[in-house]
């Protein structure tokens, strides 16, 4: 099908193919780029591919509904902030602030991501193939049936899950560009008062923030993990192995299976631990009233 041309009021036009369109971000400032994206959505496009992205901020920010984004390049800060519903695939690395205060939807990063990913995220999924930066999953929270989950194939920086109030972070530490680094940094889960962090492997106790316990996973945890790891494996099968590509120098040691089921099995072949807070009120006894 030849597709029709769709123009915004400023005369910018994109070629659409039914519900799909491709937007070239070369040299386009974020504000114009996002206006074009919104214009396309208003024209009923539900599948947008943005190519040649280099640092444009706020892509899919505050977008609602069942929409699919494919981002090629390196999107800028606050990708998918306040987003509710869309699915974003990033073919490249992402920068800081991915999924900031995200309200639902799915972000899949075929690469690595920067700091403060999933800050105050309330629902949805973020899957990252490689490493993530500092303060990932900070202040994630769950409410009723809304449980946010972040799965990271690589390693994480310090302060993972700081102030976490709900939801789950699953850290695999497998496909990392930081061969010598520990799976996660210092002050893991510090201030955490809800939710759970699953680690593949272990970390020394001193990396844990105060008031947290690290214990082996039980059957219920495994059930939860199997679901999310199958999901993760389905996204990244075929690109999780050693080799070139954006971010990360490949799985440590050996090539990973290309088939999703085998990859999931390989991921689950190592034991996991879970980190939880002892209390939902970590600072409950810290104060004495003066009046």
């Amino acid at each position: 099908m030849s597709g029709d041309v769709m123009c915004d009021e400023k005369g910018f036009c994109v070629q659409r193919e039914g519900e799909r369109c491709v937007i070239d971000a070369t040299g386009v400032y974020y504000r114009q780029l996002n206006e074009r994206i919104r214009a396309a959505l208003e024209h009923g496009v539900t599948d947008i591919e943005v190519v040649q992205v280099r640092g444009q901020r706020y892509i899919a920010t505050a977008v609602e509904g069942d929409v699919r984004f494919t981002v090629r390049g390196v999107p800028g800060q606050d990708l998918g902030a306040f987003m509710r519903g869309p699915t974003i695939h990033v073919h490249g690395n992402a920068q800081d602030g991915v999924g900031n205060t995200m309200d639902g939807g799915r972000i899949v990063i075929h690469g690595m991501a920067g700091d403060v990913l999933g800050y105050a995220m309330r629902d949805g999924r973020i899957l990252v193939r490689g490493d993530v930066g500092y303060r990932v999953g900070i202040h994630m929270k769950a409410y009723m049936d809304r449980v946010p989950v972040i799965v990271v194939g690589g390693k994480a920086g310090d302060f993972l899950g700081e102030y976490m109030a709900g939801g789950a972070i699953i850290l695999l530490g497998m496909r990392s560009g930081m061969a010598d680094a520990p799976i996660t940094g210092r002050n893991l889960g510090t201030g955490m008062h809800g939710g759970v962090i699953y680690l593949r492997g272990r970390v020394p106790e001193y990396q844990l923030g105060p008031g947290l316990s690290m214990e082996p996973v039980d059957e219920a945890d495994l059930e939860f993990l199997r679901g999310h790891i199958a999901d993760f494996a389905a996204e990244f099968a075929g690109e999780f192995g050693a080799g070139a590509g954006t971010g990360g120098s490949g799985t440590e040691g050996q090539a990973a299976p290309a088939d999703a089921e085998a990859l999931a099995a390989a991921i689950l072949s190592e034991p996991f631990v879970k980190i939880r807070p002892f209390s939902h009120r970590p600072y409950g006894n810290m104060y004495v009233g003066t009046n």
Binding site: H139, R281, N291
Partner: protein, 507 residues
């Protein structure tokens, strides 16, 4: 053997009951949420334990025979101007518990209150004063970024704007209700603030507790706040209000976060904040997506993108040493409104040491921020709102003369509905039904009555502001704004006068 911790030996208040007038009706027993009054089964009359009294005066106010008097307990300690009883009692408490001292309400310390050292002008002979009862007297205020010049297309029908002005908040009084979250104060008072603001044509601020679905209808008079915990913050919330405020800091506790204790998180608070019941709601000290000024720009524009540039974005900071430079950065980062909260600002709970020792007076911060923004030629690019210790309409007038566009009132609005500043907001047992979500207590605030009281207060202040304006020979608030010629200092030294940018009285 039962030994009381030493700190509990020394209470602050004594309850005096005139036995002859007490009818043992038990109103005081029911009113006191701290159980200072109780029924003595053995002796068959009402008794009290002064050690539990927090000095809120609820019992005395409700007593049908006025038989109760609450007095400060005379000091037990030898006079010592260094070691006052406050410090002695603090140490006892900390030695007993190892706890961080916690207080409610604003800084009570005897530090300078510059409002009281500034006096207003009035017209005599050379220019006429104006009678606001019979002549027009305009208080309407717009908050938001203004361009440096108006850009017209000249048409035969007259000039037409080339581009609409950036979004503005329109206020009929230069007064707004300050951010007090749903959770810190209860739903009835949020309803009251929303209704009062709507009636008055002003705005109230949600604070960081999200927006209850029933309050979306008041959106045109609502400023929704985004703070570090991001409680209840989502796309619909951002788009519900007439403006969005990013809270970076609070005058009562600059540089630290807050947390709403689990006790205060009931079902409705939980639903609005979207956090589980009973779990603490912790707001980290910083926004973890703002570690630098360019990050603030990033969040401001994330919100502008999310609201399609329809509403002004405010940024609230505590008044701190570098406030002028920070405010300048905030304006340059794209904020439409800068809010500065002084060190007298109220709070539901703050570590006492922070509350009493961190930050600077709002009068000084306001004066220097306004100067700085004017010096840099960016004062028009944002409006300036101040908060923290505005007690009366004269304070409002002085703030505006120093350069503020509008003020926030928080404590004053709560006092309007009964708060007596007993400072125990963090217990969730507020006997006046304000800083509590307990069903038995919050029903003490009827939203209709509370809305009326808040509206009365602002209307009364409005009249007084008009009187003062008229006296100065002005009939519109713009002519007062930044007009420091209308202020004179008394009892201030040269440095203080220079910072405030005002002359001493007599000059």
């Amino acid at each position: 053997m039962h030994v009381k911790p030493i700190s509990q030996h020394f209470n602050d208040f004594v309850i005096e009951r005139e036995r002859a007038r007490c009818i043992n009706c038990e109103v005081c027993v029911r009113q006191c949420s701290y159980e200072a009054h109780f029924w003595d089964e053995a002796r068959q009359f009402v008794v009290h334990d002064s050690a539990r009294c927090v000095g809120c005066h609820r019992c005395a106010a409700m007593c049908p025979t006025s038989c109760l008097t609450i007095r400060k307990k005379p000091s037990d300690f030898r006079d010592n101007s260094l070691w006052t009883s406050t410090y002695i009692k603090h140490i006892f408490k900390q030695a007993d518990t190892g706890g961080v001292l916690l207080s409610g309400m604003g800084n009570p310390q005897p530090k300078p209150i510059y409002w009281d050292n500034m006096l207003l002008d009035a017209s005599q002979v050379t220019n006429p004063s104006i009678d606001p009862l019979r002549e027009p007297m305009e208080l309407r205020t717009f908050l938001g970024a203004k361009p440096d010049a108006v850009d017209f297309i000249h048409t035969p029908e007259g000039p037409r704007l080339k581009q609409p002005l950036p979004p503005q908040l329109q206020l009929e009084y230069p007064i707004m209700f300050a951010a007090m979250s749903f959770g810190a104060i209860n739903f009835n008072l949020h309803v009251a603030m929303a209704r009062a603001a709507t009636q008055l044509g002003i705005c109230y601020n949600t604070g960081e507790g999200g927006l209850h679905p029933d309050l979306y209808q008041y959106g045109a008079n609502t400023i929704v706040q985004v703070a570090s915990g991001r409680f209840g913050v989502h796309k619909d919330y951002l788009n519900a209000g007439a403006a969005v405020e990013i809270k970076v800091g609070q005058g009562a506790k600059p540089g630290i976060g807050g947390h709403l204790p689990g006790e205060k998180i009931d079902e409705e608070v939980s639903r609005t904040r979207m956090v589980p019941q009973g779990s603490d709601a912790i707001s980290p000290a910083p926004h973890h997506d703002i570690y630098s000024i360019e990050d603030l720009l990033q969040l401001i524009y994330a919100i502008k993108e999310s609201t399609r540039y329809r509403v002004p974005v405010a940024v609230k900071i505590a008044a701190v040493h570098n406030a002028p430079a920070i405010a300048s950065g905030i304006v340059r980062a794209g904020a439409d409104i800068v809010v500065i909260d002084g060190f007298r600002g109220g709070t539901g709970a703050a570590p006492t040491m922070i509350r009493d020792n961190v930050g600077i007076p709002i009068e000084l911060a306001l004066a220097s921020v306004d100067n700085r923004l004017r010096d840099e030629g960016i004062r028009n690019h944002a409006s300036l709102v101040v908060a923290g210790g505005v007690r009366c309409s004269a304070d409002v007038v002085k703030a505006i003369a120093l350069g503020a566009d509008a003020v926030y009132i928080g404590t004053a609005a709560l006092v309007a509905v009964g708060c007596t500043l007993c400072g125990r907001c963090y217990t969730g047992k507020c006997p006046w039904g304000i800083a509590t979500n307990a069903a038995q207590l919050k029903k003490r605030q009827n939203p209709d009555v509370a809305a009326q009281r808040m509206a009365n207060l602002v209307r009364a202040w409005g009249h007084e502001i008009q009187e003062m304006l008229g006296g100065m020979g002005l009939n519109s608030i713009e002519s007062l704004r930044g007009n420091r010629d209308k202020l004179r200092g008394v009892g201030l030294n040269e440095v203080e006068l220079n910072v405030l940018g005002i002359k001493h009285a007599g000059l």
